[in-house]
Each structure stands twice: as C-alpha cells, then as structure tokens.
C-alpha cells in the first residue's frame, strides 16, 4: 500500500496476532483498537469497492462498517472475519435499500450512479471497472466468493468460514462464478487470452 504506511497491515497480520489484537481491543487497548481499525478498513474497503459504484460511497460505507465494528466489538463472539464481512454485506444491502427508496422518488437526483451497461468492453485489459461491471451481473454469493478468493486472497477454508458454507460448496461456487464472469466478458467482446 502506498500513502499510509500503517495500512501495510493488510497482508501482514497472522491469525494468532489478529486474535491477540482483537482481545486487547476488546479490553480498551487504544493501540490495538487502532491497529484493528486499520486492518479492517483496508480489507473491507476493497470488498465494498467492488460492490458500489462511487469511491465516496466506498469510503462512507467502509467508515460506517468500522464504526459499527467498534461499537459492537465487546459483544463479538465466534469467527471475527465472518462477523466483520457480515456487517459489511449488511451495510451494503442497507445502502442499496435506502438508495432504491430515494430513487423511487426521483432518479434524476443521482446522475451517473447507474452504470451504462451498453458500453462494449473493447480494451483487452482487465480493469477494476470492468470487473466491477461484470460482478454486477452475477449472483450475490458468486460475487462474494470472487471477492474473498481472488481480491482478498483468502483460501477455501477461510472463505468457507466467512460465508458459513462447506469447502466443497465454495469450490462449486468458485467454478460457477468464474464461468459466469467469463460468459459475461465473452458477450461483451472481451476475450481472455494468454
């Protein structure tokens, strides 16, 4: 990570250290709480990034998730990662729910927020925007698997724990998700070649 050196925590915290940080944060240790917030912020940011269209929304929602986490941390039990991704997923759902209500009043309040899917993907380079666009066209569970496995870099076991599924189910979902994405890209004229 560039910019903020503390965000290097993103890839460097082992499970044991993370458990220790969580324990200390629950006991009001300010340093641990700060580390935990940075860790969660970095992880959740990229997860939310691919689920909403605007960078500002990503920042607002990520901040909301981190604040929710801090407020509820002492009551947290069980798998921390599964818990935090659940908060993030629910926050995104709430965001779209609220937006849908507002959109029903006036769509013109949000110019540019609805992606234009008619644009052909002509460039033969995978970009964050292309992936984001494609992710909007697969199921929510498939999207979840792609983000956790290939963006966040979790292995099958971790992904299974976070999603509350079996490893076998994750493998099936992963296969179907990649197939669905490939199909979407193929239709859009984006061929994935060596």
């Amino acid at each position: 990570m560039k910019g903020n050196p503390s965000l290097l925590l993103r890839r460097e915290i082992s499970d044991d250290n993370l458990a220790l940080i969580i324990d200390n944060a629950k006991k009001d240790d300010t340093d641990s709480l700060t580390k935990l917030c940075e860790y969660v912020y970095a992880r959740i940011y990229s997860y939310i990034f691919y689920r909403v269209n605007h960078r500002e929304d990503t920042e607002d929602l990520t901040s909301e998730v981190v604040l929710k986490m801090v407020k509820a941390l002492k009551r947290q039990r069980g798998n921390f990662k599964a818990w935090i991704y659940k908060i993030a997923a629910n926050t995104v759902i709430d965001f779209y729910r609220k937006r849908a209500k507002r959109s029903a009043v006036s769509l013109s309040d949000f110019p540019g927020e609805i992606p234009d899917k008619s644009l052909p993907i002509s460039e033969q380079v995978m970009t964050q925007e292309k992936l984001k666009d494609a992710l909007n066209n697969i199921t929510d569970e498939q999207k979840h698997v792609i983000l956790l496995r290939f963006i966040e870099g979790y292995n099958n076991e971790e992904t299974a724990k976070i999603m509350g599924k079996s490893v076998g189910a994750i493998k099936v979902m992963q296969f179907r998700a990649l197939k669905a994405l490939r199909e979407y890209f193929r239709k859009k004229g984006y061929e994935i070649k060596a």
């Binding site: 990570m1 700060t34 990503t58």
Partner: protein
C-alpha cells in the same frame, strides 16, 4: 476416483498460486484444458488487479472518530463503574442470573406447593420436595421426625380434600397411617430417652389422627363407614400400644401385651 470440474479447477488454481504456469497445470488434465484455461486466466487477471487503495485522509478521519468515541465511552464507564464490571464478565453475570432465577423459581414453587392438596397442579412438587428432604436427612431421629411431619401433612390434606357425602381419598388415608407407622421403625436405633420421646410423639400423632377420623366419620358416605371404622380402631390400638411401650410397669395391660409390630399394620 473421478474428480469434478470444480475440484480440478481448484487444484489448478492452487498449483498456479504455488508458481506453476497455467500450461503446466493443464497438462495433467488435457481433456478439460479447453474449458478450464479461460477460467484460470480470468482468475489470474482478477488477482493481478491493483488493490483498491483507501484514501489515507478517510482512514485518519475514521480513526479520529473512533478515538473520540473511545474517550466518550471511558468517561461513561467512569461514571458507571458497576456497569463496567458487568460488561467485562458477561458470561459470569449470565451464570449468576441463571442460578438466581433457578433458585427463585424453585423457592416459589416449593412455597406455593406447601399448601397444595392431591389433585392440585403443584402437589407432585410437594411430594418430590418431601422425598428430597427425606433422602438428604441422614440421622434416624431426623427421618423419624420427618415421617411425623409428613403424617401430620397427610392428615391435614385429608381434611382439606374431604367433601361431605363423598368418598374418602383412600390413597391419602393409607399414606397418613403408614407415615405414622414408619416413624416408629426408627425407635429401635435411638437411645432409650430419645426413643421414649419419639414413641410419645407417635402416640400423640395417633391420637390426633383418631380424633380427625372420628369427626369425618358422620359426614363420610356409607360405603366408607367400614374403612373409617377400621382406621379409627387402628389408631386407638396404636395409641394403647404406645402407652404400654412408654410405661410397661404401670400399664394395666394383661398378657399378651400389645406389640406395635403386629397390631399396628394398616393393610
């Protein structure tokens, strides 16, 4: 065993993560190469995407909010230190709450069941409590005392549940007479003085039961007359027997002397 395509894809993804090329991985499964190659390349492209970078200012703004929240929380906790104790040990507090609730429910049920009579919802709890009390009592004297207490309870229950002209509750009558008899069993394991006190108490219990039965008799239904008479006679016989046991010399009994083991059994 034949592997499914999703499992093969996963194996190949693991191979690529370990540094193998897509071509090398696919060599093991040439029959799936055409289908799986684009999927592997797609996964590779997604993984190679630059990670979205959060704006450091946004992170700092959240951290500032969190620090402010933490300060406010601490100030609150200083004001409510009692609350802090509970928030630190929620499992402990829950355990205490459960124990207190069980004690409260148990105590309330026991208190309410004490006044119950046969047929009441709480009557089985009363009998169960008595059984527990009896089991937990170790000394013979204590057990004998309990039998007398239970005999007295059954007598009161007989009176409370009796309705003029209706049949007497035979189960209750049996229990009443048997409890008194059971108390006497323990007299042999007590010292002479304690045994005498117990015999005297059993004698009074018999007298009381006899009086109660005599009061009930005129109001009982005709079919029960024989049973009530037999019970009254038994109580009188027992009372006479207790008198002899307490004072054999001054008793005006003639041989054969009454023996509670023989004459006091209620069938």
């Amino acid at each position: 065993m034949k592997l499914k395509r999703d499992e093969i894809l996963d194996q190949l993804l693991e191979g690529i993560k370990k540094g193998k090329s897509i071509e090398d991985c696919l060599r093991a499964y040439p029959e799936f190469a055409e289908e799986l190659e684009p999927l592997l390349r797609l996964a590779e492209r997604i993984e190679d995407l630059p990670k979205p970078e959060p704006n450091p200012e946004a992170v700092e703004s959240v951290l500032t909010k969190i620090r402010e929240m933490a300060v406010k929380e601490r100030q609150k906790e200083k004001k409510f230190s009692f609350r802090k104790i509970f928030s630190l040990q929620p499992a402990f507090v829950r355990a205490i709450a459960v124990v207190l609730l069980i004690i409260f429910i148990g105590w309330t049920s026991m208190s309410l069941s004490a006044k119950s009579v046969p047929g009441d919802f709480l009557y089985p709890i009363k009998l169960f409590t008595e059984k527990v009390q009896y089991t937990l009592t170790v000394s013979p004297e204590g057990k004998a005392e309990l039998h007398l207490v239970f005999a007295d309870r059954r007598t009161n229950e007989l009176v409370l549940s009796f309705k003029e002209g209706e049949m007497i509750n035979k189960v209750l009558l049996n229990a009443m007479l048997n409890e008194a008899q059971s108390a006497l069993k323990y007299s042999e394991s007590l010292s002479v003085e304690r045994s005498a006190i117990l015999v005297a108490k059993v004698g009074k219990c018999n007298q009381h039961q006899q009086r109660v039965l005599e009061e009930i008799k005129p109001m009982a239904c005709r079919d029960d007359t024989t049973v009530v008479n037999e019970a009254i006679n038994l109580c009188a016989e027992r009372h006479r027997c207790m008198g002899y046991m307490l004072n054999p010399e001054s008793s005006d009994e003639q041989p054969p002397y009454p023996c509670w083991k023989k004459c006091c059994n209620w069938q």
